[in-house]
């Protein structure tokens, strides 16, 4: 049980981060707070921050450094055009997958 849940969560976190950022730019801590509202995801800092770094490196996110009242400058993440494209593709896939699985579970046909 736990292995497949872990695998599923991993992919979903990336999916959720990109969707959150499609609503506007955000910084690490804020993203983490939003993701932690989905209890089932069990998101922690050691999962999210490396993913943010990787997504930025892969060209899906861009970073803008802005001053912060709390301490060091914050790194605000936002979607690049490649990232926007990626969210669209993922959402489309997610919708189709959900429908297909629902059909499968309820015994209906596609």
């Amino acid at each position: 049980m736990s292995t497949w849940v872990t695998q599923l969560r991993k992919g979903l976190i990336e999916f959720c981060i990109l969707n959150l950022l499609s609503q506007g730019e955000s910084y690490g801590y804020e993203l983490l707070q939003s993701l932690q509202e989905i209890e089932e995801l069990v998101v922690t800092d050691s999962t999210v921050y490396p993913i943010l770094s990787r997504l930025r490196k892969d060209g899906y996110l861009k970073v803008q450094v802005k001053p912060s009242t709390s301490g060091p400058p914050r790194r605000y993440f936002s979607l690049t055009s490649l990232g926007q494209q990626r969210v669209k593709e993922m959402n489309l896939y997610w919708g189709n997958l959900q429908t297909a699985i629902e059909h499968l579970r309820t015994g209906g046909t596609k």
């Binding site: 910084y27 690490g28 801590y29 804020e30 983490l32 922690t44 800092d45 050691s46 921050y49 490396p50 943010l52 770094s53 990787r54 930025r56 490196k57 060209g59 861009k62 970073v63 912060s68 009242t69 709390s70 301490g71 060091p72 914050r74 790194r75 690049t80």
Partner: protein, 765 residues
């Protein structure tokens, strides 16, 4: 929110702990994650505390976060145990003898070698390139290091730190008293993450790190140094074995800017090849009769007669640099040149030396200029501008690389009030760029005159005399000349290039000719030198920021894509390369430069789009010479809008440059603000002047007043250092002059004409 020193230390300690577990990641990712964690801590503290955060609250915040080990695993060393397996007694006996002999030889070698090759302690943590070892972390301040490692030894130089518990490890401090590099010397038993330790062979080192980005050798001892700046490590080897390991923050590949050394100019011929400089014996038969390197010519522009370039003291190859030194032996000047053969670059053996003497004396070497026959090629001059080429003198009739060319003739400048005439060469094979020397350009004013310009040809191409706009450097057309072949090559090249530039309106009358006002920089040359250095430093800082975002491989690709365009300026290949750079790297410094480049190369709406994007998203980017993208893109767009008659948009950009980028410079090290300030006196298309001085020093306004009336300024020293604002539109020239004079009266400043040439400006008593 400010944390107390105590709490800041606690945060730093936590980050240091996490850093150790991130060792396997590239430096940029590691840094990015650490920044996120640090921000997280501060954000969490701010969310949960009303006033000053307490140690207990910080403990709680850190405890709620994932522990450092969640971020990765610490590096471990796998002991290399011999796999004996099942051996027959004979094989076992032979192996035992071999081991004993090996041990004996190793012992003998160790005793004779200056390098200790003690076995590695498997329990030692690894040296992480670009990061550190144990608590010896790069970037830590001397205070932080003392806190982590205790009091250092007292008997070290000020810039160095060392501790008794690790006697073979040194820290070198930067000017800011932070750990600049960590040095592991002979006696140190650890190894790097790539498996290299003191005593490892040169070959093993290259196998572990790949070809070095630069290899060089010392002249004083058999020490060969291999450097991987991008990986954050360089290694000293002594007689083919690693003798010192130095780790530092990853940085771009070193460059060697050209520094002239007139003592080496000219041709040298080889006379010997020796093991060391001291081994050379004058008058003795050469150690080798057939020398591979026969001659070497050092050109004054940094080129040589071979594939290398040179700068003072060094000959620079693709992946290595050789040192050269000139010594006077037996009354003769000899050049000793390190020879970086495969023995050096692949096996770490000390280099041998070529001994060269001058082919002829330097004076004899200088070729004489003689009249040379030339073909005249394309002429793109317009608007009654003309260049008549009367005579060409050259050191050879072939106008080849290294030849000096002098062009003499007459010019007529009709299209602008001021311009420059320039003698250059346009590359017809490959690409080429070179600095403009003072002998090859001349400033000129509206009218006719004579010119004599001299130039040394740095690359293959066709020579050209051209007029350039004094402000923008834009070509106003020119005339090609050279051998028949060079002229024809240029003709065929032109056919494949972009269409002719937009024709400028013809100047009709002397009054209208003054529409184009000479724009000069206001700060002195010395000021501009300082400002330029300051801007260059800002450029370096911005470039280093990329290291926080991109990996070494990415940075390398960014630079490669950029350099394609830099080398093939205006070519389609260059443009494609820039477009690829822009699409792949949305945050790089070079991306900003690329957009601006494309903006300068394009026309129509496309030009505005590129420039506007550079302004919107990449204003903080810089060219290496200190030109800031935000400022220069606005400057280029300013001129574009001016040309299009969109004066409001142009004025807005000019204001932005003045307020946002007061220290910005052009590629010719001129102050952009000064250039713009001068242009505030530019006339509009109907021949009417406008005035727009915004908080400008009185001296600046007076300087432009003098420019308009064509007199030189004599200003008394007691003129106050006040700033004034002066705005007016639709003025005739006389109205403009009166406006400035009235403004000066209000400042208690008297303006009096002195003879025909001067204006005397004094403070009213």
């Amino acid at each position: 929110m400010n944390l107390s020193t105590e709490l800041t230390k606690q945060v730093t300690a936590h980050l240091d702990e996490v850093r150790k577990y991130l060792w396997a990641l590239p430096a940029d990712e590691r840094q990015e994650i650490l920044q996120s964690i640090e921000s997280h801590i501060y954000d969490a503290l701010e969310t949960r505390s009303d006033g000053e955060p307490t140690p207990a609250l910080l403990d709680a915040v850190i405890a709620e976060m994932d522990p450092p080990e969640s971020y990765g695993e610490l590096p471990t060393v796998t002991p290399n145990k011999p796999k004996l397996g099942r051996l027959s007694p004979i094989v076992f006996g032979a192996a035992l003898i071999a081991i004993l002999v090996g041990l004996y030889l190793a012992k003998a070698q160790t005793e004779n070698s200056p390098i200790s090759s003690e076995s590695t302690l498997e329990s030692e943590p690894l040296i992480i390139e670009g990061v550190g070892w144990r608590d010896y972390l790069l970037g830590k301040t001397s205070i932080e290091l003392t806190e982590a490692l205790g009091e250092p030894q007292a008997n070290t130089p000020e810039w160095m730190m060392r501790w008794d518990k690790h006697p073979y490890v040194y820290i070198a401090l930067s000017a800011a008293n932070a750990c600049k590099d960590v040095r592991f010397n002979r006696g140190f038993k650890g190894r790097t993450s790539a498996g290299i330790k003191i005593g490892s062979s040169f070959e093993k080192m290259l196998a572990a790190y790949g070809d070095a980005e630069t290899i060089w050798a010392r002249e004083t001892d058999p020490c060969v140094i291999a450097e991987w700046p991008g990986k954050g490590i360089h290694i000293y080897t002594y007689k083919g074995l690693v003798s010192q390991i130095i780790i530092h923050q990853p940085k771009p590949k070193y460059t060697h800017p050209f520094k002239d050394d007139p003592s080496v100019h000219g041709q040298w011929v080889s006379i010997d090849f020796v093991n060391s400089i001291n081994a050379f014996q004058p008058g003795k038969q050469p150690q080798e009769s057939d020398l591979l390197l026969k001659e070497l010519t050092f050109f004054s522009n940094g080129a040589t007669s071979h594939a290398w370039t040179w700068t003072q003291g060094r000959l620079i190859g693709q992946n290595n640099t050789s040192r050269y030194t000139i010594k006077e032996i037996g009354g003769e000047k000899l050049l000793f040149l390190q020879w970086m053969s495969g023995d050096v670059t692949l096996r770490g053996q000390p280099p041998k030396y070529y001994v060269l003497k001058r082919a002829t004396s330097k004076e004899e070497q200088t070729p004489q200029l003689k009249p040379a026959a030339f073909e005249q090629g394309l002429n793109s001059l317009e608007n009654e501008d003309s260049i008549i080429l009367n005579e060409v003198l050259a050191t050879s009739p072939s106008f080849a690389i290294g030849d000096t060319v002098t062009a003499k003739g007459q010019y007529t400048l009709a299209s602008q009030l001021n311009a420059r005439i320039l003698l250059t060469v346009t590359a017809t094979r490959g690409s080429g760029r070179s600095n403009v020397e003072k002998e090859q350009e001349m400033k000129m004013a509206l009218g006719s005159g004579e010119f004599e310009l001299t130039y040394t040809i740095p690359f293959h191409g066709c020579s050209q005399l051209s007029f350039r706009d004094e402000i923008t450097g834009e070509s106003l057309g020119g005339l090609y000349f050279g051998t028949k072949q060079q002229v024809n090559e240029m003709k065929s090249l032109k056919k494949t290039r972009s269409p002719k530039r937009k024709k400028k309106p013809t100047v009709e009358s002397p009054e209208e000719k003054s529409k184009s006002i000479n724009l000069t920089s206001l700060p002195s040359k010395a000021d501009m030198g300082e400002i330029s250095e300051m801007q260059k430093a800002a450029a370096r800082d911005r470039m280093y920021e990329d290291q926080d975002i991109y990996s070494r491989d990415e940075l390398r690709e960014i630079e490669t894509l950029y350099q394609v365009a830099n080398k093939k300026w205006r070519s389609e290949e260059g443009k494609d390369s820039l477009k690829e750079l822009i699409s792949k790297y949305s945050s790089a410094n070079r991306t900003g430069c690329a957009l601006l480049y494309l903006g300068q190369q394009s026309t129509g709406d496309e030009q505005v789009e590129y420039l506007q994007r550079a302004i919107d998203d990449f204003s903080d980017c810089f060219y290496g010479d200190g030109v800031q993208v935000g400022a220069y893109a606005r400057f280029v767009l300013f001129h574009r809008y001016k040309r299009d008659g969109e004066n409001e948009k142009a004025a807005k950009l000019a204001d932005e440059i003045k307020t946002l980028y007061p220290d910005s410079i052009s590629h010719r090290k001129q102050s952009l603000v000064a250039l713009l300030t001068a242009s505030t006196l530019a006339e509009n298309s109907s021949g009417i002047y406008s005035l727009s001085f915004e908080n400008e020093p009185i001296a600046t306004v007076l300087a432009h007043y003098c420019k308009v009336i064509g007199r030189s300024l004599l200003m008394s020293t007691d003129i106050p250092d006040r700033k004034i604002t002066l705005r007016a539109k639709s003025l005739t020239k006389n109205e403009l002059i009166s406006a400035i004079e009235e403004a000066m009266k209000l400042q208690d400043i008297d303006i009096n004409f002195l003879g025909d040439k001067y204006v005397k400006v004094t403070l009213r008593k």
